[in-house]
Symmetry: C2
Subunit: 214 residues, 2 copies
């Protein structure tokens, strides 16, 4: 198909498509004449992946490029590729707040207590420590008390995610599933947690017990 049809199919404007090609996110089309290129279904799929990661996941163009490099990486063990994909999408918040060593220790304790097979200096562990140190700095260190409730919930979610991803067989599809699941699943989780908050807050502060409104 020509670039105009690619644009209509995906809802992505032509100049944006050209930008993604220049930035290396989208492979160039096959030249069919000196000034015309042809695109196929792989371009449609890749564009949807790019837009999902940017619009819904809130990733930057640079992070999307990193993630796509991982999605396309050949060979390597599945576990290592999954690890690299996770690293690419884990934000690295500015650290250096006071209380960070104590927060790191609390994260390490959590990992040992749960028996999780994860390095204590994993980027996600560091991101969690930075967030916990920020809680502490705001006088809300009591948040530590709910960590195991969060961990119960996360184990349940991770099991559901892995069971879902496990239906895919080839590695490339698997890695794309994991990346999409991690980013879009994170957006679903964040939105759903807020909805559950709305429900719990309504039950608690609006009065009435247990019956739905409307």
């Amino acid at each position: 198909m020509r670039i105009g049809e690619l644009s209509r199919t995906t809802g992505v404007a032509v100049p944006t498509i050209k930008f993604y090609v220049r930035e290396g996110l989208l492979p160039a089309g096959r030249l069919t004449s000196p000034n015309q290129a042809s695109y196929d279904d792989s371009h449609v799929r890749r564009l949807r992946l790019i837009r999902g990661l940017i619009d819904v996941g809130g990733l930057s163009v640079a992070t999307v490029r990193e993630v796509l490099t991982v999605v396309e990486a050949p060979g390597e063990s599945v576990h290592n590729v999954l690890g690299a994909a996770h690293d690419a999408i884990t934000p690295r918040p500015a650290s250096g707040s006071e209380g960070l060593p104590e927060a790191r220790e609390a994260v390490g304790e959590l990992i040992r207590r749960r028996g999780w097979r994860a390095e204590e200096d994993h980027p996600a562990a560091e991101a969690m420590a930075v967030a916990l140190a920020a809680f502490q700095g705001l006088g809300q260190g009591a948040f530590m008390e709910v960590l195991d409730d969060y961990a119960d919930a996360c184990e349940r979610i991770a099991d559901a995610d892995l069971a879902y991803v496990g239906r895919t067989t080839e590695v490339e599809g698997l890695v794309e599933s994991v990346v999409v699941g991690a980013v879009l699943g994170g957006a679903v989780l964040s939105a759903m947690r807020r909805l559950a908050h709305v429900d719990r807050s309504a039950r608690r502060f609006e009065g009435g017990e247990g019956e739905a409104t409307g």
Copy 2:
């Protein structure tokens, strides 16, 4: 204290502090002479809140301003203030992807099935629908099958969050707790979900069962 001490106490550079004052995020100090202002503990606390929301929560300066307006809003019922705080921190992803009407219907069904007291056009419901439509567009509509596992986990998290927040009594502190909990708690949740993924992936793809590494 002078601005230099405020900067040392919070780790926020002096020009950044001045920027926050200009942008209306931080109240100006009390003028003690024509070119010198004095700051107190309320400024320290506010700066920590701002940095937590920006660095850990990833909020923009504009969103932080919106959130702080809510934190400072007088009166109103607690439920309404909590709702406004949630609205301010719920991202509004670009919508308009195909499959959105079906995704909205799926979210509505979920809300009814769970008996959640939340409007079906709540911003968080819309954010969830956009993410689900993106899954669908990538051929991963099967993600719908894990929504109830996510919902179980979110109810557990929301209960823990509300129990935690419920220890605070006055409304202003309550709203700040909710905002901090929603934003920083979201960062903790996101990092912890990734750690749980690392664990589950290690167990599944690295071989070995149940025993921790190292």
